[in-house]
C-alpha cells in the first residue's frame, strides 16, 4: 500500500505531467479518495501560480544608457589599456632594457680596459707609504745638520755627475765602506720617490734640499753628522747618473723630467749649471779642533789656488770664509780642506764652464 507521503513526493512530477501509465492512474485514484493529498496538490498549484504571477521589474530609467556608458568606457579603456600595456611592452620597455644592458656592458668594458692601468694608478699610493719615512728622514737631516745654510737649487744629473767627478778619490772608498750595490741604489731611489713625486711644482728649495742631503753626503763617510744618515740608509748610490736616470724613469710625474724628455743631456746641464752658479755659492763645512788655525790654513790655501774676493768673518768659535775660486782648482781645494778636518759639502758642485765658483767655507769646532 502506497502511503500519502509517497504520493506527495510524486505530486510535483505529476503536476509537470511527467508521470504516465499505471503510476498516473494510481495517483489520480488516490487523490480522489485522499483529501489531504488533494490539498497538497492544490497548494503546489497555487504556489506555482503565485510564482508565475510575480511581475517583471522595470529597469531604472536610463539603464541602457548607463550600461552602454560603462560598455563604451570599457571599450575605450581596452584600447588605452592596450596602449598602456602593449605599447610600452613592445617598444618602450625593450628600449629601456637595451639601454640598461648597454650601460652595463660599457661599464664592464671600461673597467676591463682600464684594469691594466690600475696598478699604475695604485703605484703613487703605494709609494706614498714611504712618505713618512722620507719626512722622518728629512727631519732627521734637519735635526742633525748644525749648519744653517741649505742648498737651494734643484739637483740635476750634471750636478750629481760634477760632484762625483770632484770626489772621484772618495767614491770607491765610500762604496767599500757602505758595501752597497745596485739593490741599495734601487732602494734609495724608491725611498726618495714620494718626496720628489709628491709635488712637481713644489718650490725648488724643498725637493733638492732633501735630494741633496741624501745624494751628496752618502759617499762621504768621514763627516760625522751625516754619517748617521748614511748609516741609517747605508746605501750610497753606485752611480749617481744612473740613479738620476732611474729616478727620471720612476718619476713620470716630475715636471722637469717630463718637460725635458726631448732635450739632450748636454743642453739640460748647461741650463742647470748656469742657474746653479748664479743662485748659490758652494757651501763647505769643515769640522776642526781649532777653528782659527784651520781658518788661517784655509785662507793660505785659497790664496795659493788663486782665489779672489776672499773674505773672512769670525764668529763665536766659527770662522766663515767666502771667496771666488777658479773652478778647475775645486778638486784640489777639497782635497786640501780634507787635511784640515772633516769636510761636509753643502753647496753645489762648480760648473765646468765657469771660470770661477763662489764658495763659502764654514769652519766649526768639533764639540767634544
Amino acid at each position: 500500500m502506497i502511503s500519502c507521503q509517497d504520493f506527495e513526493k510524486r505530486l510535483p512530477a505529476y503536476q509537470e505531467g511527467l508521470i504516465s501509465g499505471q503510476d498516473k492512474k494510481d495517483l489520480e485514484d488516490h487523490l480522489r479518495s485522499c483529501e489531504s493529498c488533494r490539498l497538497v496538490l492544490q497548494d503546489l498549484e497555487k504556489t506555482q501560480d503565485l510564482l508565475g504571477r510575480l511581475p517583471e521589474v522595470a529597469p531604472p530609467p536610463w539603464f541602457t544608457r548607463k550600461v552602454m556608458a560603462r560598455v563604451r568606457e570599457e571599450a575605450e579603456g581596452k584600447r588605452s589599456l592596450l596602449r598602456k600595456l602593449f605599447y610600452p611592452l613592445r617598444i618602450k620597455i625593450p628600449l629601456e632594457a637595451t639601454a640598461s644592458i648597454l650601460v652595463v656592458v660599457l661599464a664592464v668594458y671600461v673597467f676591463k680596459a682600464t684594469e691594466p692601468e690600475m696598478p699604475l694608478l695604485r703605484a703613487p699610493s703605494e709609494s706614498v707609504s714611504p712618505i713618512p719615512k722620507g719626512f722622518a728622514h728629512r727631519e732627521k737631516v734637519k735635526e742633525i745638520s748644525p749648519l744653517p745654510a741649505a742648498p737651494t737649487a734643484p739637483i740635476t744629473p750634471q750636478n750629481l755627475e760634477t760632484k762625483t767627478k770632484g770626489r772621484l778619490g772618495e767614491e770607491p772608498e765610500a762604496h767599500q765602506l757602505s758595501g752597497s750595490g745596485t739593490l741599495g741604489a734601487d732602494k734609495k731611489t724608491e725611498e726618495k720617490r714620494p718626496s720628489a713625486a709628491g709635488s712637481p711644482e713644489q718650490p725648488a728649495r724643498e725637493i733638492p734640499k732633501e735630494l741633496f742631503a741624501n745624494k751628496m753626503e752618502e759617499p762621504r763617510t768621514p763627516v760625522a753628522p751625516l754619517k748617521k744618515i748614511e748609516s741609517s740608509e747605508s746605501k750610497p748610490a753606485p752611480s749617481l747618473g744612473a740613479a738620476r736616470k732611474e729616478k727620471d724613469r720612476e718619476q713620470p710625474g716630475v715636471l722637469e723630467s717630463k718637460e725635458e724628455q726631448g732635450k739632450s743631456a748636454s743642453d739640460r746641464s748647461t741650463v742647470r749649471q748656469t742657474a746653479v752658479h748664479k743662485s748659490t755659492p758652494m757651501g763647505i763645512t769643515i769640522q776642526v779642533r781649532d777653528a782659527r788655525e784651520a781658518s788661517k790654513k784655509a785662507l793660505d790655501l785659497l790664496q795659493q789656488l788663486g782665489a779672489k774676493n776672499v773674505q773672512r768673518e769670525t764668529g763665536v768659535g766659527i770662522e766663515m770664509i767666502t771667496a771666488a775660486v777658479p773652478s778647475q782648482t775645486i778638486p784640489q781645494l777639497l782635497d786640501q780642506l780634507n787635511t784640515l778636518g772633516e769636510v761636509q759639502g753643502k753647496g753645489l758642485l762648480p760648473p765646468t764652464r765657469e771660470e770661477s765658483v763662489s764658495i763659502r767655507i764654514e769652519i766649526i769646532p768639533i764639540i767634544p
Binding site: L44, T47, Q48, L50, G52, E56, V67, M68
Partner: protein
C-alpha cells in the same frame, strides 16, 4: 497549427536577429550590443531581482553582467542561445553577490548566545488568521513580497531552477543549457524548491 508555425517563425526570426546583433557586436559594433541590452535588460533584471530579492543589487548585477558579456562576447560561439548564455552570466553575477551578502550578513549577525530581540527574525511574525482565505485580504504587493521572501530562503542552486522554470517560464532544455546541469538534477531541484516555497507560504499565510 497555424499559430505554432507563427510562433516558430517568430522564434526563428528572433534567433536570427540575436545572431546578427551578436555578430555585429563581436565585430565591435556598439549599437548592436546596445540593441541586445535593450532587448534583454528587462528579463535579466527580472531574473536578478528574483534571485537577489533586492532591486538595487539586481540592477548592479545586471549592469555588471552586461559588461561581462561585452568583454566576453567574442568568445560566444553560438553553441547555445544567446539569451541562455546571457542568463548564465547574470546568474554568475547574482551568485557572487549572494555570497557577498551572505558574508556581510555573517559579519553583522549576532552571536547565538545573544538574547533574542523582540520583533527580530521570522519566527516572531504573527501568522495571519487561518479562518478565512487570507490571500484575498492581503494586498497584492504583500503577497509578492512574501513569495520573494520564501524564494530568498532557498539555497542558491534550487532558487536558480525555480526562478528559471516557474518565474521566467524557461523550458527544461533551456535551463539545462543555462545551468549546464543534467535534466534529472534540474527536475529534482525544481520539485524540492517548489515544495520548500509551498511550505514557506503556508507557514506565512496558513491556507493558500
Amino acid at each position: 497549427m497555424g499559430r505554432s508555425n507563427n510562433k516558430d517563425r517568430m522564434i526563428r526570426s528572433m534567433a536570427d536577429e540575436d545572431e546578427f546583433l551578436v555578430r555585429s557586436a563581436q565585430e565591435g559594433d556598439l549599437r548592436a550590443f546596445e540593441a541586445l541590452v535593450e532587448k534583454y535588460q528587462k528579463k535579466m533584471l527580472h531574473l536578478a531581482f528574483r534571485m537577489l530579492g533586492d532591486y538595487e543589487e539586481a540592477c548592479d548585477a545586471v549592469q555588471e553582467a552586461f559588461l561581462s558579456a561585452f568583454r566576453a562576447i567574442r568568445k560566444f560561439r553560438g553553441e547555445a542561445k544567446f539569451s541562455s548564455w546571457l542568463y548564465g552570466i547574470v546568474l554568475n553575477q547574482t551568485r557572487n553577490r549572494l555570497r557577498q551578502i551572505a558574508s556581510r550578513d555573517r559579519r553583522h549577525s549576532m552571536s547565538l548566545d545573544d538574547p533574542l530581540e523582540p520583533g527580530s527574525g521570522r519566527l516572531d511574525t504573527d501568522p495571519p488568521s487561518l479562518e478565512a482565505s487570507v490571500l484575498d485580504q492581503l494586498e497584492k504587493k504583500e503577497i509578492e513580497e512574501k513569495v520573494q521572501e520564501c524564494i530568498n530562503q532557498l539555497d542558491e542552486g534550487y532558487r536558480e531552477v525555480l526562478v528559471l522554470r516557474d518565474i521566467l517560464g524557461h523550458s527544461y532544455e533551456e535551463i539545462q543549457q543555462t545551468l549546464k546541469l543534467p535534466d534529472g538534477t534540474v527536475k529534482s531541484r525544481l520539485f524540492r524548491a517548489r515544495e520548500s516555497v509551498k511550505n514557506c507560504l503556508k507557514e506565512g499565510f496558513g491556507n493558500l
